[in-house]
């Protein structure tokens, strides 16, 4: 980051020199031309506006803030600022969760201690990193990836360290290679436990035992290629009769199921002395170590894999080790042409818009296939391309029925409010919110491997009628929306900087700048709109907000602020991301 700022300063200096025509003494040489004969410089790209900065930051972080927007605007103009911001972010390492969760383990461990309670520690550090962490883009990607390659606390609550480490792995791999990512995912014991690859046995016909197919199925269906063949623009390929073409069949699943045999908890500190496939078990140490291969439970026959144009191999030969089989399987899956549109489109949907044009998907698929240096699956390049794409950067189209943008994830409305309004508790912790219960989502708390919502969800009405999708609306039910609205009510009215909160764990928002201008309702609403919406507010919402302020006596500035802030936070405008 430091290097970039210096670069920025030196660019500004060069620009200043060129404009002022002073003898800046840079290169020496001939005198500058007289000012009168020099033609004016060509008009450059316009600067980034506040609203545009907010749009970008709501795509790339856990919520736009004024400070970050102003910093972004100063990085350059609309052709340069975004790329520079992204490059800063790509260079930042991951902030992690594991150490914080480990620190929550008492020493010595008292009898009857149930380690599951450390999941609240895990949620706490997730909020700290997401609301405060400097590596915003990487954290935002980790959050997106955790909703594609899902593991969930439900059956895994006894492994808080494993869960924290799984998320850290996603954060570390977020800008790396897709092939590396799915290998780390596959070998993580949390995924192994969640989708049954851990402890998967080789066949035993006498006992009617055959390898479990859960991971074989879900890795392909949800993490890699999906159920049907796709064109690079995300549209379905069709056979001669116009039907979609399945990407795999049952025998292929059985082939992969046989490949994923013989893996279990790694033998490490705390494991049994004679550590075998049958005897190994979960420990504090090995829940954060990759699974270990036990050859005696690995099926050593030849196994069928995916067949597709360009496949390097379509089966593994007999006699390979577990690791060799696994490597070949992941190469086979990662090499399938579907991966590019399947992953690219979902990342677009998570960051920018629920309904990208086919052309947008195709542009990103191409970057996935080749980042410009011949590398395939370069996630950092893919993210960069998604955010810099013309479709992500264009201004909101003002017409009824527009499909640009997306519904914000409910939890990201919360993180945005806390980021914009300095939400923090005296203790520095985030332990007084039940994210999954109130917002319908939380870190690694999805109800199933199908995430909090489906990428294909469309509510009855215009969206379904037009063949569009709005995944986040799946959890925007009458019930869930009311819980969220009520949470914001409590936050805004009862937990602000004037509320006199004494509980050190309650997160409080800072409304002092608003209180200072509360006497003038128009100015107050302008202030809130700038802070929350990048000054992009509809006349109707502005009008109602002003009315709601004017209903409260000037002698009660805190309530005047709360009425307007709550109305805007709970509005449909704040619930969507343009």
């Amino acid at each position: 980051m430091r290097r970039s700022i210096n670069k920025k300063n030196s660019r500004l200096l060069s620009l200043a020199c060129a404009l002022l025509l002073a003898a800046c003494g840079g290169s020496g040489g001939s005198d500058p031309e007289p000012a009168a004969t020099r033609s004016p410089p060509p008009a450059g790209p316009p600067p980034v506006t506040l609203a545009q900065a907010y749009k970008f930051l709501n795509q790339a972080t856990f919520g736009a803030t004024e400070a970050e927007a102003l910093r972004l605007m100063a990085l350059g103009n609309s052709s340069t600022a975004y790329a520079r911001w992204i490059d800063e972010q790509l260079a930042l390492p991951a902030t992690t969760q594991l150490a914080y969760v480990q620190a929550g383990l008492p020493n010595p461990i008292p009898p009857g201690f149930v380690v599951d309670i450390l999941n609240s520690q895990r949620q706490d550090i997730w909020f700290q990193n997401s609301v405060r962490g400097p590596d915003q883009l990487r954290q935002r990607l980790a959050w997106a990836l955790s909703q594609i390659m899902v593991v969930s606390q439900g059956p895994l609550s006894g492994y808080p360290f494993g869960l924290a480490d799984y998320y850290d792995m996603l954060a570390r791999d977020a800008f790396g290679d897709y092939r590396r990512l799915i290998e780390d995912v596959t070998l993580h014991p949390m995924m192994g436990r969640y989708l049954s690859m851990l402890g998967n046995q080789k066949p035993n016909p006498a006992l009617n035992i055959r390898p479990d197919e859960n991971y074989a199925r879900e890795l392909m269906q949800l993490f890699a290629i999906g159920l049907v063949e796709l064109n690079p623009d995300g549209s379905l390929r069709r056979d001669g009769l116009g039907n979609p073409i399945p990407t795999y069949d049952q025998p292929t699943i059985e082939g992969f199921a046989h490949i994923y045999t013989g893996w279990s908890w790694a033998c490490a500190a705390g494991s049994p002395a004679n550590c075998t496939f049958a005897s190994t078990r979960a420990t504090i140490a090995n829940q954060i170590l990759p699974m270990q291969a036990f050859a005696e439970q690995h099926d050593t026959g030849s196994k069928r894999m995916l067949t597709y144009a360009g496949a390097i191999r379509t089966s593994v030969p007999a006699g390979q080790t577990p690791a060799q089989d696994l490597r070949d399987a992941l190469d086979n899956i990662a090499g399938h042409p579907n991966v590019s549109p399947f992953i690219s489109k979902q990342l677009i949907q998570k960051l920018v818009t629920s309904n990208p044009s086919p052309e947008y998907v195709q542009r990103i698929s191409q970057v996935f296939n080749n980042d410009g240096t011949g590398r395939r699956g370069n996630l950092g390049a893919v993210v960069r391309a998604i955010l810099l794409d013309v479709e992500a950067r264009r201004d909101p189209i003002v017409s009824t029925g527009a499909v640009d943008g997306k519904t914000k994830e409910p939890l990201l409305r919360l993180t945005q409010l806390w980021r914009a309004y300095g939400g923090s508790a005296q203790s520095g912790r985030f332990v007084t919110v039940n994210a999954q219960g109130t917002f319908g989502q939380g870190p690694l708390t999805a109800p199933s491997v199908f995430n909090f919502f489906s990428p294909f969800f469309a509510p009855t009405g215009e969206i379904a009628d037009r063949g569009l999708v709005a995944p986040e609306l799946q959890i925007a039910t009458e019930y869930q929306n009311t819980l969220v609205t009520n949470f914001f009510f409590t936050q805004v009215f009862n937990r602000n900087s004037r509320s006199g909160v004494t509980n050190p764990d309650i997160v409080v928002i800072d409304i002092e700048p608003e209180v200072a201008v509360a006497g003038d309702s128009a100015q107050l609403v302008t202030r809130i709109a700038a802070r929350l919406l990048g000054a992009h507010i509809s006349p109707e919402l502005r009008g109602q907000a002003v009315l709601s302020v004017n209903r409260v006596a000037a002698s009660n500035p805190t309530q005047r602020v709360a009425e307007a802030l709550w109305l805007i936070v709970s509005s449909p405008e704040f619930a969507v991301q343009p």
Binding site: G199, N200, I209, P396, V398, E462, Y479, S548, P572
Partner: protein
Amino acid sequence: MSNALVMNRRARRRFLRNVAAGGLGFALARTPGVAWAQMGGGGDFPDYRALVCVFLFGGNDSWNMVVPRSLPEYNVYATSRQNLAVPQASLLPINLVVPDVAGWQYGLHPSMAGIAAMFNSGRAAFVSNVGPLLAPVSLTQYQNRSVPLPPQLFSHNDQQDQWHTLKGNTLSKVGWAGRVADALATRVTAQQMPLNVSLAGQTLFLAGNATVPYTMGPTGPTAFAGFGTTGANLARRQSFEAVLQTSHPTVYEGAFADVQQRALQFGDGIAAALATAPDFTALPNAPPAPLSSLATQLRTVAKLIATRDLLRMSRQVFFVSTGGFDTHDDQLNDQPNLLGNVSDALQRFDDAMQQLAMSHAVTVFTQSDFGRTLTSNGDGTDHAWGGVQLVTGGAVAGGRIYGQHPLIRIGARVNTDRADDVGGGRFIPTTSSDQFAATLARWFGVADADLATVAPSINNFAQRDLGFML
């Protein structure tokens, strides 16, 4: 989608406001005024009926729920299921009112005492080897893919969608209960809340072409904080509502605002009705031990049924759910709890319906992604196809197993074993989900002429009504 069913946003808002103001309480469908005025024959239902769908998420291993207990059928089952077989001595005997064609006898999983008792008193039935089918399928046809099959067999979300929608290869955003509500819209004109209600989150099952379902929490709707009927609280609510009613530039804003409007529209009325509900002995408000999530949802359903007249309800479909059935691991440990919870919750609900003298009017049925494989991975089972579903209530022709319960044999063949195993112990269903749905829909009041709309493949099967309703 017919244009006649699409109303522009402003007109629809006017319509909703008029309905609310006039207290008409029309089923809040998106049907335009013209179609409503054309309601012909029938009039509103004079009686009350309710369907309660209990969705078992993950794919219930129902071959361990209903088990042949006579010999040699039990031994065949035990050989197939090896260490996952339920011990014969522990099976709870159920007595068939109509004997099995081969004289086989059955028992239930030992944790299902409640269902066994209901079955033996005629208030529960099973439908066996039922699953998604577009038309009857033989093993050869399956292997050659020579007839249309439901897409993506063995995939959770796709098979859940098949149970919800019955739509085969057609992309569908509409469930069969949604189509039922659409078909009955002109016969429930006095209703003050949506016909279709979920207590378990958003579900495709209840979405109609016109009908929009309503979602509440497991204990009912939640009131908006800071809203009221007087003073500042009323003004605040009015500002909130005014913001919702402005035009919204994107489809996402518009759809979000619609949900908020429905929450405002129905929340208070439903909560007020629930507050007058009686306390049920079997589903107490303050139980000595906490009720399970499923029992809690069913308690709210019972309360809504108890207070149906306050909201002038004559037809209701409720969606509740419980999960954890995807037993790839630890099946021996988990299955007793999974099935025990279903049995306990459904028995409590049955008790509550009897307390209300409404047992004849309320039918509960299960659906689940799929049955599971007869083969195992050592400690669990995998995704399969046909399975057994449960139907309970006073209107059920109980004490029977409908359909054909197969011989639980790996490699089964239909001419000797009543069903075909496509491999690994996965049975091709011999009864379709369409037939299952059509039977329930008919009882609920859907006209014969509309059954093919509700269950699109029904005409491909000989029996439109499986006969499990009285």
